[in-house]
C-alpha cells in the first residue's frame, strides 16, 4: 500500500515537472555484416545555407547499417564536388567507386529548404537519379532518411526503411520509483519522443496500418485497459476496460478492427473490436488461454497463442470464426506469432533451450531459429519484411535487436536506461 502511495507521489512530481527529453538513448551497432555489400560514396553536401544536420553523414550511416552498402570514408574520397558538372568520373573509377552521390541544400521562397541530390554510376558515367526534396529546418534528419530510402530503392530494388520508426516501452527505476514510458524513435535511435509515461505498467504497443495511431495496454487505472492514441494530436481514447484482462491489441490490416484478449467471460479469449462502432465480437470460446492475436496482411486469418493442448502453441483461425488450426508442433513453447508483411511466414517466440526468435515458412511449415539469446521475446517485422525486431534479455541487460530474416545480420539498438518491455516497428 505504502509503495503505491509513493508511486503516486512520484507521478505527481513528474506531472508538475514535465520531463520531455526521452530518457532512453538508443544507439545502433552492426554486430555482424553481410558479404557482398555495395561500395558507395556519399560526398558531403554543399549546405552552407543550412546549418542543421549533416545530411550526407546521416545518409551514409543509414546505408551502412542496412548491411547492403559499404560507404566510403570521407577522407578517402578523391574529390568533393557539389555541382553535378564537376564530377570527375575517372577519379572515382580509379578509386573503385561505382556509385557516387552528391548534393546540396538551398533555401526556398517559402522560408524553408530544399535538398537536391544526384546519384551517378561513375563506371558508365551516367546519372541514375536526381531528386529535390523540400523540408523545414527541423526536418533535416528525416530528409536525410528519405534520401537514403530513395538511393536504397534505386540500387537494390527494395523499399528502404530508414524513414520509419520504432515504438518501445522502457522501464526505469525499481520498486517505488519504477517508471514506464512508451517512446517512439527513428530506427537509428534518434529523435525519441515520449508518447506516455506511467508509474504502472504499459505494454504491447501496436501501430495502426497508416502509422498515425498507436494502440497499447496501460495499467494506469489499476486494472489493465486498452487505449488508442493519435500521434499527431495526442488525443486518446480508452477502447476497452472490461473486467479482467484487456491485452494484446492488434490492428486489422484495413485499420477498422482491433483484435484483443479479454477475460471478462472467463478464461482469456480473442475478441474483435470494431474501432468505429465499438461493437465487440468474440472469436474464440475455450476454457484455456487464448491470447496474442495477429492478423495476416490479407486480413483472412489470425494467428494466436493457446495452451489448449497443454502447452502454449500457435493456432490459425479465420476472423469469421470456425475451428482453429494448430500451426506449431516443434518444441514445448511457441508464442507471440506475427505475420511477415508478405504473409508467407510467421515469426514467434520459440522456447526449449532458452527462448529464441524463430521463423516459420507457412508453405513448408519449416521452423528456423533466428536469434541466439537466452530470453528473446516480442518479435515484430520491419515494414520491408527483411528484419525481425525483438527484445533480447541476457543476464538482466535488455537489448532491442533486429535480425535479418536469413539470420545472417544482426543489429543492436541499445537502450541505455532501464529495460525494454515491448517494441513494434512502424508501417
Amino acid at each position: 500500500m505504502c509503495r503505491r502511495m509513493i508511486n503516486a507521489f512520484i507521478v505527481c512530481l513528474l506531472g508538475c515537472s514535465g520531463i520531455q527529453s526521452a530518457l532512453a538513448e538508443l544507439t545502433v551497432d552492426i554486430t555482424k555484416g553481410t558479404q557482398g555489400a555495395l561500395p558507395i560514396a556519399i560526398v558531403p553536401f554543399g549546405q552552407a545555407a543550412y546549418r542543421g544536420e549533416n545530411l550526407a553523414a546521416i545518409v551514409s550511416e543509414d546505408l551502412q547499417k542496412s548491411g547492403r552498402f559499404t560507404p566510403m570514408a570521407e577522407g578517402q574520397m578523391p574529390e568533393r564536388p557539389v555541382p553535378p558538372g564537376q564530377v570527375n568520373y575517372t577519379a572515382w573509377q580509379s578509386s573503385g567507386q561505382e556509385n557516387v552521390v552528391i548534393g546540396r541544400v538551398v533555401q526556398n521562397d517559402a522560408g524553408g529548404y530544399e535538398a537536391e541530390f544526384v546519384l551517378f554510376d561513375a563506371i558508365r558515367g551516367t546519372q541514375l537519379l536526381s531528386e529535390r526534396i523540400p523540408f523545414k529546418a527541423q526536418e533535416g534528419r528525416h530528409t536525410a532518411h528519405r534520401i537514403a530510402d530513395i538511393i536504397y530503392k534505386q540500387l537494390t530494388g527494395d523499399r528502404g526503411i530508414f524513414n520509419t520508426r520504432v515504438a518501445f516501452v522502457s522501464a526505469t527505476g525499481a520498486g517505488k520509483s519504477r517508471e514506464y514510458r512508451l517512446e517512439i524513435a527513428d530506427t537509428d535511435g534518434q529523435d525519441a519522443k515520449t508518447v506516455i509515461t506511467s508509474s504502472e505498467p504499459i505494454m504491447s504497443p501496436s501501430w495502426s496500418p497508416d502509422g498515425k495511431r498507436i494502440a497499447y495496454v496501460s495499467f494506469e487505472d489499476g486494472p489493465s485497459a486498452i487505449f488508442i492514441q493519435n500521434l499527431a494530436t495526442g488525443e486518446r481514447q480508452k477502447v476497452s476496460d472490461a473486467a479482467g484482462i484487456n491485452g494484446a491489441p492488434a490492428w486489422s490490416p484495413d485499420g477498422t478492427e482491433l483484435a484483443m484478449t479479454l477475460s471478462k467471460d472467463g478464461s482469456p479469449d480473442i475478441y474483435l473490436l470494431d474501432v468505429a462502432t465499438k461493437s465487440l465480437h468474440r472469436l474464440t470460446r475455450d476454457n484455456s488461454i487464448e491470447t496474442e492475436p495477429n492478423w495476416s496482411p490479407d486480413g483472412r486469418r489470425l494467428v494466436f497463442t493457446s495452451d489448449r493442448g497443454g502447452k502454449p502453441q500457435l493456432y490459425l483461425v479465420s476472423p469469421n470464426g470456425g475451428e482453429p488450426e494448430r500451426l506449431t508442433f516443434e518444441g514445448e513453447y511457441n508464442a507471440r506469432g506475427v505475420f511477415s508483411p508478405d504473409g508467407r511466414s510467421i515469426a514467434m517466440v520459440h522456447g526449449g533451450n532458452g527462448y529464441r526468435i524463430a521463423l516459420m515458412d507457412l508453405g513448408s511449415r519449416n521452423l528456423k531459429v533466428l536469434s541466439r539469446g537466452r530470453q528473446d521475446e516480442s518479435p515484430g517485422f520491419s515494414p520491408d519484411g527483411k528484419w525481425v525486431l525483438y527484445i533480447s534479455r541476457d543476464g538482466g541487460s535488455d537489448q532491442l535487436s533486429a535480425v535479418s530474416v536469413d539470420g545472417k545480420t544482426r543489429q543492436a539498438l541499445d537502450v541505455r536506461a532501464g529495460s525494454v518491455r515491448g517494441a513494434a516497428w512502424s508501417p
Binding site: 515520449t194 496501460s218 489499476g222 494484446a248 517466440v349 522456447g351 534479455r393
Partner: protein, 191 residues
C-alpha cells in the same frame, strides 16, 4: 556499460525526485484523477507526453473498499493471515499442496467476514512472452479464487488482477528469482 547505466539511472532518479524542469514546447497534462484502484486516492498513474494531451481519467471503482471496522487479525504480523504469497511451478497455474493451507486460512477468514474483500494479484516470471504471462498469471490468481469459492467465499469478495511479468517481486534473472516471481499475492484493502 553497467556504470553508464547506473549513472543514468541515478540521473533519472534525481531528475524525477527534483521535479526537473524541461524545454521544448510540449504539453503534458495530468490525467483526471482516476479513482484509485487500491483505495489510497492517488492520482491517475499516467501522463500523456510529447505526442499527447488529454487526461487519462475515467478509472473505475476498482478493487472494493470494504474492511472498515474489521481486520485486527489482518494487521497482526504473527497471525497465520500474515502469510499472503502463494508460489507456483514454471508455466503452471496449479496450486501446490504446501500452499493449500495458506489459501484455506484466508478463505476461512473471508467466509467468516462477508464484508471483507481481498485482491488476488497474479504474477509470472520474466521468461517467455509478456502477454502470455498476463494470461498465465490471471489463471494462477483464478486458481486461488476457485479454492476460496469452494470454502464459502463469495465471488464479490474477491477481485482478480494479473500483472504477468511486469511487476517482479525480486529483480534477479536466475531460477531463485524466477521462483519468487511466480506468485499470487493476497492483499486486503487498507491492511
Amino acid at each position: 556499460m553497467k556504470l553508464i547505466k547506473s549513472l543514468l539511472t541515478l540521473l533519472v532518479l534525481s531528475l524525477v525526485l527534483n521535479g526537473c524542469s524541461s524545454k521544448g514546447g510540449v504539453t503534458e497534462e495530468e490525467g483526471e484523477g482516476a479513482n484509485d484502484a487500491y483505495g489510497s486516492g492517488r492520482k491517475s498513474g499516467a501522463k500523456v507526453g510529447k505526442y499527447g494531451r488529454g487526461g487519462a481519467g475515467g478509472g473505475r471503482g476498482g478493487y472494493g473498499s470494504g474492511g472498515a471496522g474489521l481486520g485486527g487479525e489482518l494487521d497482526d504480523p504473527s497471525s497465520p493471515l500474515a502469510k499472503r504469497v502463494i508460489y507456483f511451478m514454471y508455466n503452471s497455474d496449479e496450486v501446490m499442496p504446501e500452499y493449500k493451507s495458506v489459501i484455506s486460512t484466508h478463505a476461512n477468514y473471508l467466509a467468516a467476514h462477508p464484508d471483507q474483500t481481498a485482491t488476488l494479484e497474479g504474477h509470472a516470471d520474466e521468461r517467455g512472452s509478456s502477454e502470455y504471462n498476463i494470461a498465465l498469471s490471471e489463471q494462477r490468481a483464478k486458481s486461488v479464487a476457485r479454492m476460496m469459492n469452494l470454502q464459502g467465499v463469495s465471488d464479490s469478495q474477491v477481485q482478480v488482477v494479473s500483472f504477468g511479468e511486469e511487476k517482479p517481486s525480486v529483480s534477479g534473472h536466475d531460477e531463485s528469482a524466477w521462483q519468487q516471481n511466480r506468485r499470487v499475492e493476497i492483499s486486503y484493502p487498507g491492511h
